[in-house]
């Protein structure tokens, strides 16, 4: 396992941790959808939450980003990405929920 040890916490162990976390965070939403165990609203919230955590897991364990260890310009790029995702997903939710409210609610 010596070769796997590299700079910035890139160990085989950390990759495996990330992998297992990602698997779990994928299995949970699929499970929720397949079993129908939760009510519609809590199911949506749970799926959304696992998606967000999944993103953070990828950034942390696969792209090795850390608030302190990563150069500032790279964090800026991530922040910019976050803003865009917020616009796209937030905007879509706003638009589609507004439509839902006017058509079916």
């Amino acid at each position: 396992m010596k070769r796997a040890k590299a700079a910035g916490g890139r160990t085989l162990g950390s990759y495996l941790t990330g992998y297992v976390l990602a698997l779990v965070l994928t299995a949970v939403p699929f499970g929720i959808a397949a079993t129908g165990a939760l009510s519609m609203q809590s199911a949506l919230i749970a799926i959304g939450a696992s998606a967000i955590v999944q993103v953070l897991v990828h950034l942390r364990y696969f792209l090795h980003l850390g608030l302190r260890s990563t150069p500032q310009e790279r964090l800026l790029a991530i922040a910019f990405t976050a803003v865009l995702i917020l616009i796209m997903i937030g905007g879509s939710l706003w638009i589609m929920l507004n439509l839902y409210y006017r058509m079916w609610a």
Binding site: M88, S92, W94, I95, M96, L99, M103
Partner: protein, 664 residues
């Protein structure tokens, strides 16, 4: 799923016997291909074409191939356009000469081709040729990925072209809205051709975006601070950012549509709990940034052209940079204006309407900057300058009709009318295509070492601009008269005079395209008279004019030292241009490889088999793509060393030319 060996591919379905016009189109397509293959074989040039061009990783050659693809597709897209104009000119109370099934394919392929396979390759090609040179770099950051992007784009274009011969193209328009594009209403292969052409080329575009961003951020010459980059580099950076953030939205949306069609899923079908409006929402999350992907590079080209041919420094450089970046960000906040009529609440519509109008502000800033650059300049009326002037005037009109459409109540009247068709052509033809043509005529001598004939260039400009006004101004009127877009026939005789004028306009544009062809032929024939040995035919201001024409594979033997926005102009003033070092250093260059062509070819096979549900071939092609990429990444030797003495030889030749021209 279909498990037959050839999926749903049968001769009866595949051949275009539903319309004689379609048979004609198929024959022309096949003959065109045979002519090219035959000519290369007859001239015994296959080895040359393969080793020097197809497998090349040189960003200039890749760029040239992109532009060639774009020009071919421009002709194809225009043939579609003039066929529609002819149909609408005659289809009053009659079926015209095109059956509805065929007419619908034509507007779909026209829109798809013009956006994805004319405009996108054109701008990607120009960026490829010029941006590395403008920032003083020897290459793009990822030369091999660049080749993959090119061949993926070509594969997508190939899918659209072959749909004319084997099967049919989509009839669902360039936007492919469900439910009409779903399997229930559109069981044939048309929509699938559209989907896979877009998937394949869209991935190529995303890769190009990554490549350009890294190139600009990491490969600038010493002293080339971000705020010293020519404006074309800034607009390229903005466009590339839009590419990598917007294109995944398109890829995902069309992939979901494919899942609906193939696996009977229900993302966009109401019956299974899906929502077709979400398709429209997701599509335009990509779609609006896309129009800025097309337009921003043209803005950069105009900036170069205007300042060079006004012989002045660009007015308001900083404001142009900030306006570019503001447009890039704002372009992600307006997408709903494409579907105001969906029925969202007043709050939603008002927000997106106002955001849309806000974009007009940075765009207006740019127009004033160009005008101020022209003001009191010593203007040379090179054809590129004419395209720029035509753009400024015409684009403002399109911008105003756009602000009008940004008002939701007005949009309710004009939505999907020919007013809209007039508006977006009013933006895209002057705002994108004219810019690319300006860039083509401006930078042609850089790519090939001789200038393009100016008389035919001016002829092309005048035909295009007059033809544009004739072809599209009547559509504004027709929109107010209530004519919807995409109409194959109509019963209102008051429309016909306007449609006749529009058809005349298309004929004038045809003359413009003919001028472009003649210009190219005449210039190639007279290339010895038109030779430019200096590499700097227009008294250029930025670094791409420092290299020889065509540039050496490494562009710059010595990386330039940049001290000003107009880096070359600054060097000329200080007499520090064309200085030779005591000794040339060795330069590493990428080794050519056929892997990019192979991946593109396999992607074509994959797309074609996915269209026809030949799943075993599709899976094999996908695996082969992965295997090729993996094999390539295990290669250790991807670069070769051009020794200093070789570099010196090449440079000696260049400096001999410079001396002969009296520049030194």
């Amino acid at each position: 799923m279909d498990m037959r060996i050839l999926g749903r591919l049968t001769a009866a379905d595949a051949l275009p016997f539903y319309s004689w016009v379609a048979v004609g189109g198929a024959v022309v397509t096949v003959l065109g291909l045979l002519t090219i293959v035959g000519a290369i074989t007859f001239l015994r040039k296959w080895r040359y074409v393969w080793t020097e061009w197809m497998t090349s990783l040189d960003h200039k050659r890749i760029g040239i191939m992109y532009v060639m693809l774009a020009l071919v597709m421009l002709v194809r897209g225009f043939v579609d356009a003039i066929m529609m104009r002819a149909q609408q000119a005659v289809a009053l109370n009659s079926t015209g000469y095109l059956p509805p099934e065929h007419f619908d394919q034509i507007f779909s392929s026209h829109g798809t081709i013009m956006i994805f396979f004319m405009a996108m390759p054109f701008l990607t090609g120009l960026i490829n040729i010029i941006v590395p040179q403008q920032i003083g770099a020897r290459d793009v950051a990822f030369p091999f990925m660049n080749s993959v992007s090119l061949w993926l784009t070509a594969a997508g274009a190939g899918l659209v072209l072959i749909s004319l011969v084997v099967g049919r193209f989509s009839t669902a328009g360039w936007t492919g809205y469900p439910p009409y594009s779903g399997a229930e209403y559109n069981p044939g292969v048309g929509v699938d051709y559209w989907i896979w052409a877009i998937q394949v080329s869209g991935i190529g575009t995303t890769l190009s975006g990554i490549n350009f961003i890294v190139t600009i951020l990491k490969r600038r010459a010493p002293g080339m601070k971000l705020m010293r980059m020519p404006l074309f580099c800034w607009t390229t950076l903005a466009t590339s950012i839009l590419m990598i953030f917007a294109f995944p939205a398109l890829t995902v949306t069309t992939a979901l549509l494919a899942l609906d069609r193939i696996f009977d899923m229900h993302f966009f079908t109401n019956a299974g709990g899906g929502n077709l409006m979400n398709y429209i929402n997701l599509f335009w999350i990509w779609g609006h940034p896309e129009v800025y992907i097309l337009i921003l590079p043209a803005f950069g080209i105009y900036s170069s052209v205007v300042s060079t041919f006004a012989a002045k420094r660009l007015f308001g450089y900083k404001s142009l940079v900030y306006a570019t970046m503001a447009i890039a960000l704002l372009s992600f906040t307006v997408w709903l204006h494409h579907f105001f009529t969906m029925g969202a609440g007043a709050g939603v519509n008002a927000f997106f309407g106002i955001a849309t109008m806000v974009i007009a502000v940075p765009t207006g800033v740019k127009v004033f900057d160009w005008l101020m650059t022209l003001f009191r300049g010593r203007i040379t009326f090179h054809p590129s300058m004419l395209w720029a002037l035509g753009f400024i005037v015409t684009f403002v009109i399109g911008g105003m009709t756009g602000v009008l459409l940004a008002l939701p109540p007005a949009d309710y009247l004009m939505h999907n009318s020919t007013f809209l068709v007039a508006h977006f052509h009013n933006m895209l033809i002057p705002g994108a295509l004219f810019g690319y043509l300006a860039g083509y005529m401006f930078w042609f001598p850089k790519a090939f070492g001789f200038t393009l004939d100016e008389r035919w260039g001016k002829g092309a400009f005048w035909c295009w601009i007059i033809g544009f006004y004739l072809a599209f101004m009547p559509l504004y009127v027709l929109g107010f008269m209530g004519m919807a877009r995409r109409m194959e026939r109509y019963e209102i005789s008051a429309w016909q005079p306007f449609l006749l004028i529009a058809a005349l306009g298309a004929v004038v544009i045809l003359a413009g395209i003919t001028c472009l062809v003649i210009q190219l032929v005449v210039s190639i024939r007279k290339r010895n008279e038109k030779r430019d040995l200096t590499g700097d035919p227009w008294d250029g201001r930025t670094l791409e004019w420092l290299t020889s024409s065509p540039p050496a594979p490494y562009n710059f033997a010595v990386l330039p030292q940049v001290r000003d926005i107009d880096a070359l102009h600054d060097m000329k003033r200080h007499g520090s241009v064309y200085v030779r070092p005591k000794q040339y250093e060795d330069i590493l260059l990428p080794i050519n490889t056929g892997a990019g062509v192979l991946i593109g070819g396999l992607a074509f096979v994959f797309g074609f088999s996915a269209v026809w549900h030949i799943w075993w071939v599709a899976a094999a092609a996908l695996l082969a793509i992965l295997a090729t990429a993996a094999a390539r990444s295990f290669r250790d030797k991807t670069e070769f060393c051009l020794t200093g003495s070789k570099v010196q030889e090449i440079e000696n030749r260049h400096f001999r030319d410079l001396a002969r021209e009296g520049v030194l």
